[in-house]
Amino acid sequence: MIAAASDIWAGIDIGGQLRLFSPEIALVATMLAIVTAPMLLGRGARTIGTVATLGVLAALVLVLRNFGVVAPEGQGVLTPEAGSGMLIADHLGTFFKLVLIVFLGGVTALWWMGSASTERDAPEFFILLLGSALGMALMVSTTNLLMMVIAIETASLPSYAIVGFNKRDAKGAEASLKYMVFGAISAATLIYGVSLLYGLTGGSLEIGDVARAWYAETSGANRLALGLGLIGLLVGIGFKISAVPLHFWCPDAFEGAKTEVTTWLSVASKAAGLLLLARVVHGFTVNLPITKADAGFLPYWSSVAPLAWGVGLMSIVTCTWANFAAYRQSNVKRMLAYSSIAHAGYMLMAGAVFLSPSAPDATAGMSALLTYIVIYMFMNLGAFGVVAMVGWRAGSEEMSAFTGLIRRAPLLAVPMIVCLVSLVGLPPFAGFIGKWWVLVALGRQGTLLSWVLITAAALNTLFSLYYYMRVVVQMTLRDDGRPALSIPVGGAALVNFCAVALCVLFVFVDPVKRASERYASGLFEPRPTVRVSTGDADAPALAERAP
C-alpha cells in the first residue's frame, strides 16, 4: 500500500504545490496559534490582536511571494492528475487572495482602533474572522462542486457566529439568527442542486463536465433537471453575493453586526461569491462548442443565452430593488448595506459579459470586475470606517448622528464625502472608473442584453445619487450645534488613506487595470478543441501565461 501511494505522488513536487497555498496555510496556522495563545500568553485582547496581526502580515508576505507564479503542471494542483484537482492555483485566485488579505489587514486595523480596548473574547473573534477568510480564499480556488460547497460553508458558518458576536445584544442575536436561517436554506438548495448535477453528468463534480453536459443534452426532461441543478447552484452563490431575491439576510445582518464585521462581509463575502460565479461561468464559456467542426453547431439561444439573460436580469433586479430600498433608510449603516447590494448588482453585470462566445469580450468583463472589486474595497473600507467611528464616539449610526459632521470632525466628513461620491460613481473619484470599465465591457459586447444592462446601470446611478447625497447634505448644510467629536488618530489616518487612494486611483488607475487585464486574459483564450476531462492538452499552455 505504501509503495502504491508513493507511486501516485511520484514526479509531483509537493513542496511546490503547497507553496501555492501558503497564504491559506498561514491563515490556518494563525488560527491554531490563537487557540494556543490563551494558554501561554493569556486572553488579553492586545496580545491576541498582535498574534492575529502578525499572522495576517505573514499571509500577506506569502501571497506577494506567490504573485505571478502558477502551478507547475497547469491548472489543477494537490492531485496526481493535472486539470482535475479539487483546488486550483492560478492568476485569478492569487489576485483575489491578495485583495482579500490586504482587506483583512484593513479590517484588523479597524478592530485595533475600536474594539481592542473593550473586547473580552478576542481569541474567538479572530478565529471566526480568519476562518471565514480561509473559506473565501478557497471559494475562488476551485472548479469542483464538492469543494465549492465546502468552501461556501467554511466561509458562511463563522460569518453567522461573528454577526451575533456580542451575546448580550438582542439586535445581534436577531441578525445572526436571520442570517443563519437564510444561509442554511440556501446551502441546502445548493447541495441538492449539486446532487442533481452529479447524477446528470454521469458522475462528475467538475464544473466543466456540467457545462459539456448542458451543451450536449438533447432530452428535454434531463435538460430541465440540469437547469434545476444550475438554479440550485445559482441560489447558493447568489446568497453569498446577496443578489435579489436572496438578499433578505443582508441589511439585517449588516445592521446588527459590529461595524468591523459589516465592513468585512460587505466586501469580502460578496467579492468571493462573484469570483466563484466567475469560475462557474468561465467553465461554461471555455467549453462552449464554437464551430461546427468541433462538436456540432449550437445556436447562441439554445446554449449560453439563457444563462447570460438569467445573470443579467438578476443584476438589474438587484441594483434597482436595492437602490429603491435604500431611499427609505434613516440608519446610515443600513443604507450602506443596501448600497452594497446595489454594487453587487453592478458587479453581476460584468458577470453577464463573461457568458460571451468571444474571448476578448469575456476578458474585458473579467478585468472590469477585478478592477471594480479593488476600487470597491477602498470605498467601503472608508465609508464603513467613518460610520464605525461616528458610532463609537456619538453612540448612534442614525442619520442624525452625522449632523454637521464637517464642523464637528472634518477629518471624518471629508473622506466620507469622497467615499459617498465615489459610491455614486461620479468623477473625480475612482468609483467612476470602476463603473466606466464595466459599461465599456458591456458596450464592446454590443448585444441586446448588454444595452439593456447599460441603460439599467445609468438609470440606477441617477436614482442612487439622491440617497448618498442626503448624507452629504446632512453632514455639510445642516448643523444643530452638537459638540465636536474626538476621533482616534489611527482611524482618521485609515479613512483618509482610503479617500486619497480613491483620488489617486482615478488618475493612475492604469497599473490596477493592466494587472487585472493580465490576470484575466489567460482565462478566456479560445481553445483549439473542446476540452477533454483530463485537460492534458491545454494544461501546459496555461502554465506559460505567467505575466
Binding site: A161, A173, L177, M180, A184, A188, D252
Partner: protein, 103 residues
Amino acid sequence: MLTIGLTHYLIVSAVLFCAGVFTMATKRNAIGILIGVELVLNSANVNLVAFDRYRAGLMDGQIAALFVIVLAAAEAALAVAICMNFYKNLVTVDVDQGDVLRG
C-alpha cells in the same frame, strides 16, 4: 419480482426534498426550519449515493455524501447555539418575533 433501481431511490429522495421544502416554508419556529433543512440535505445524500451506485461507479458521490453529513453536523451545532443565544435575548425561537431590524 420487483428489482429496486435508480428510479426508486430518486422517488424517495424527491419525497424527502418536498417534505423538507414544505417544512422550511411553513414552520415559524427556527428549530422547525432547521429540521426541514436537514431533510433536504438528506435527500441530496440519497441522490448522491444512488447516482454513484447506478451511474458513476466511482466513489466520488459517496465521499461527497460523507462530507455533506459532516457539514450538516457542523451547521446544526452552530445553528442550535445561535438559537439559544436568540432565546436568551428574546425568550422565544419564533423567527417572526425577530422584528427589531426591519425596513
